[in-house]
Every structure is written in C-alpha cells, then in structure tokens.
C-alpha cells in the first residue's frame, strides 16, 4: 500500500514547522495553498498556528473553505494547533467570525492576553504523558459542547487539548518543540482511518 499523504494547510503561519516534524517522522506531506492542492488522496490535514482571522479570510478567498469543511465533517482526520483550533471551533466567545465549525467546543481567542501573556510549560496530556507546551497569544477551550468530546489536557483548570473522533485540537504548539508524540498520535489516527 502506498504511503498516505498528509495535507498541511499553508495559507499563513507556522506550517513549515509542522512539515519539519512530518519529515522527522517519515510521513509524506503536501502544502495546501489553494483548492487545486486539496485532492482526494489527502488522507489527513494539519491546520497550523498563525493568525486565525488571516487564515479564515484566505480559506474563503482560495475556495478551500467549503471542500475542507465538507471533508472534515465526513471524517478526514485533522490535527489543529492554536489558530487551527480557532478555525475548527463551533463557537468563539469573543469573536463573531465563523470558522469551519466542525469541533463542538467554545473557544476564547487570545485568552491569555497579548504577547506579554505568552508562556511555556510542561503539563500532562492523556495517552502521552508530560508534554512541553508553548502558548503564543494562545486561545483556550472554555467549554466542550458535547459529551463525546474527550478532554486530553488542561492547564490551570482551562482545557487546552481535545479529541473528538477524528479531530485532534490544541491551543499550544507541539510543532515548536522537538517532541513528536502528538504528531505520532495524529499519524496513527490517519493510519486507522
């Protein structure tokens, strides 16, 4: 069987860091910059950190919004970090803009304030254990909106990582660390899909 290809949404932000992680783990990937790149053979998609307002605008401008939303709703495995989590969230508590909305959580943008509020920590993640977490003008999840959303991690009482069936999302940046375990978990989800 041919190796599966992971799509990395490359509209804006820290997508190269995800690609470097995929290379380290021996996975094949393709950058998704426009609708033509998002072909049927993409077996999983990574939504990277960056500015969610910029990425949302570009999803519409490039015609990627509808096909991406549809395929995630149909079961395409997705790994979303920071801005990616904001794009996936069904609801935002402090932003009226609508994202892909496939993940039933309520997210607060810039929840720790401006850049002076950015921080790093190490905290436990379910199924993985202690994991280095980097929060850059990060959001957090105020509330899960359905009982079947699994909480994978919290920091100081706030939800920072969840899994909902084939959707894995977190408010921090595993791609900025040398620790490949989150990406490995995602690749396992892709392999099992």
């Amino acid at each position: 069987m041919a190796k599966k290809t992971i799509g990395v949404l490359a509209l804006q932000g820290a997508f190269r860091e995800h690609e470097e992680m995929l290379i380290r783990l021996g996975a094949d990937y393709r950058e998704i910059r426009q609708a033509e790149d998002f072909t049927d053979d993409i077996a999983g998609i990574i939504l990277p950190g960056g500015e969610s307002t910029t990425q949302r605008k570009l999803l519409h401008a490039t015609g990627l919004f509808a096909p991406l939303q549809q395929r995630i709703a149909e079961g395409l495995p997705v790994l979303a970090t920071c801005a990616g989590l904001i794009l996936l969230a069904q609801k935002l508590s402090n932003d009226s803009g609508a994202g892909l909305g496939t993940l039933p959580v309520l997210v607060r943008r810039n929840a720790y304030g401006r850049q002076l509020g950015s921080f790093a920590s190490t905290a436990p993640l379910r199924e993985i254990g202690d994991f280095p977490m980097r929060f850059i003008r990060a959001p957090y999840i105020e509330q899960v909106l359905q009982g079947d959303v699994e909480v994978l991690g919290t920091y100081q009482g706030k939800i920072t990582a969840v899994r909902y069936h084939h959707q894995l999302a977190m408010s921090f940046h595993p791609e900025l660390t040398q620790d490949g375990r989150v990406h490995q978990l995602f690749l396992q989800m892709v392999a099992a899909a």
């Binding site: 509209l11 910059r33 960056g50 570009l58 920071c82 401006r114 921080f119 790093a120 920590s121 850059i136």
Partner: protein, 295 residues
C-alpha cells in the same frame, strides 16, 4: 505538580514571529484603517501616527506615536499590534512595553535618538523587530536581542529597489558563510562584528536564527510576491496600502499574493483594477535615505 513555567521569553518572542510568517503586516494610523487591514487579512498591524510617506513629506523630527492612538488601535483589532520607537530611544520602548504592545519596531523610519547605540533589547520582555541592509546589520541587531528582522528597504517611497537590494545582500552573504571552512568562521565573525556563535548558526543552517520579513517600498501584489520569491518569510506594507486608491482591495490582493506567491496567473488576476498605486518616489530623487540610519 508537573506544571512549571519556563523562563524563555526570547524563544517565545521568536516564536510569535514564526506565527506571522506567510503574512502581511500593514501600517495603519487610525482604528478604522486597522479594521480595514484586519478584514483584508493582515496578520498584524503597525500602529503609527503618520505613515512613512507622510513622515518624509512633513520633515522634522519623527517620534514614537501617542500611546492613546496606539491603544485605540489595540482595542479595534484582535490581531497583534506593533509600534515603532526611535533607534536607541529605550524610554520610548519602555513606554510601548508598558502599554503591552505585541512587537516593538526599533525603526529607522523615525528620527534616531542615538547615533551610536541601539537599544539593549535583551532587557525587554516584549519582542523587537529591527531593520537590516546586510547580514552584519541583521546579526548585530539579533545580538542586541531582536527577535525578528526585516529589510530596511527605503520606506515611504513606493520603490522596491532597496528592499530587493537588502534581501539579496543578506541572502548572498548567508550563502557565502555556508561555503566557508569551520576555521574561517572566526575571521567572518570579526568582519561582521558579531559573536562567533551567530556566524556558526548561519554557517550550519543557511538562514538567520530569526524570521526575516521584507519591508520598505512594497506597493503592489507583484512587489510582495517578488520579495517572497527572493526568500522573505513575509512582508511589511507601509505607505503602499493607505496611500493607494482602493486600500481594502489592494490590501486583500497583497495578502493573497503572499500566500500564492508562485502562482503568476493568480497574481495577475489579483492585480487587475486595483486603482491607483501610491505615487512613488525614485530613490535617486529623495533627499533623506532612512536606510542609512542605524548600522
């Protein structure tokens, strides 16, 4: 307790710049302009009282903007807000940090406050971006604590020639460094007037240890794509947007051109009917070369 806050502010500050990559940072002078920029897809805005073209026209001493004006812009948008202080004016930088700016641009666009020393940026918790014309300037600013570099270009001219020159110079010098023997790096460090470790990083990685944007004179989607194809991580657009005929449309077109910078057909489409570009000034017509400030 496994939770432990780690003190690595500089790393976090470099990482914010990584999140800005592939994006466009736009100069804005009012909350209304900031909203136009955000809606067009800007990944950050630079709050300043006068855009470089007007600073150039007005002459006189250009200083840090009124904090009230910057706060108005911080309240208007959810994306990162940057602001400029004068080269060497560490008190202006302290004020910008006090109002929790996301990035400080120690900028040659303003009148320098110190003709010898730059700000010791290592003392600050907020990140700094600085301009550079060549690799030596870039590495010296990084050594002082800059978490992001941009080309100086020639601000407020709508003429991209200097940004191109600076980006090419930095790239060429980095390529040369990667080709040196290990034992030649000590001499290179001496020539660039920077610590050996920074030279060694470029030698090993072929790039700067921080994100490098293009800035100065970018006025069209094609200009922005040119800088991306030359290796910029992203683009600052100063006077080019709000000095043009249709700022909202031009801003959106530049944002899209930066994402798909290798797709000429798309950029051609994006470049249609954008209205008047800003009136440019050629570099040989200008009296004041801002890029000469701060070396």
């Amino acid at each position: 307790m496994a939770e432990l806050k780690e003190d690595n502010r500089y790393e976090l500050n470099k990482e914010l710049a990584q999140m800005l990559k592939g994006g466009v940072i736009m100069d804005v002078t009012t909350p209304e302009q900031a909203k136009v920029a955000e809606a067009a897809g800007a990944c950050a805005v630079m709050a300043l009282e006068r855009i470089p073209a007007d600073i150039r026209a007005a002459g006189g001493v250009a200083r840090m903007s009124d904090p009230a004006m910057i706060k108005g812009i911080q309240q208007a948008v959810s994306i990162p807000v940057m602001a400029k202080c004068r080269i060497g004016h560490f008190v202006e930088a302290q004020l910008l940090q006090a109002i929790e700016i996301d990035y400080i641009d120690e900028s040659e666009v303003l009148s320098p406050a110190d003709d010898v020393y730059h700000i010791n940026k290592r003392e600050f918790a907020v990140p700094f971006v600085c301009g550079a014309r060549d690799l030596g300037e870039a590495l010296r600013r990084i050594n002082e604590g800059a978490a992001m570099i941009r080309t100086k270009g020639e601000p407020g001219t709508g003429d991209v020639v200097q940004a191109v020159r600076h980006m090419r110079a930095i790239n060429k010098q980095m390529t040369q460094l990667t080709a040196l023997r290990e034992d030649e790096l000590f001499e290179a460090a001496k020539q660039y007037q920077v610590p050996y470790e920074l030279v060694q990083y470029v030698h090993a990685h072929g790039r700067l240890p921080v994100v490098n944007f293009a800035a100065g004179g970018v006025a069209t989607p094609a200009d922005a794509a040119l800088m991306m194809q030359l290796g910029a991580d992203g683009v600052f657009v100063g006077s080019g947007i709000f000095k043009s005929g249709n700022p909202a449309k031009r801003a959106a077109a530049i944002v899209e051109a930066v994402t798909n910078y290798q797709d000429a057909e798309r950029i051609a489409r994006l470049s249609e009917n954008l209205g008047e570009a800003m009136v440019g000034i050629n570099e040989d017509e200008i009296q004041l070369l801002m890029a000469e400030r701060g070396k």
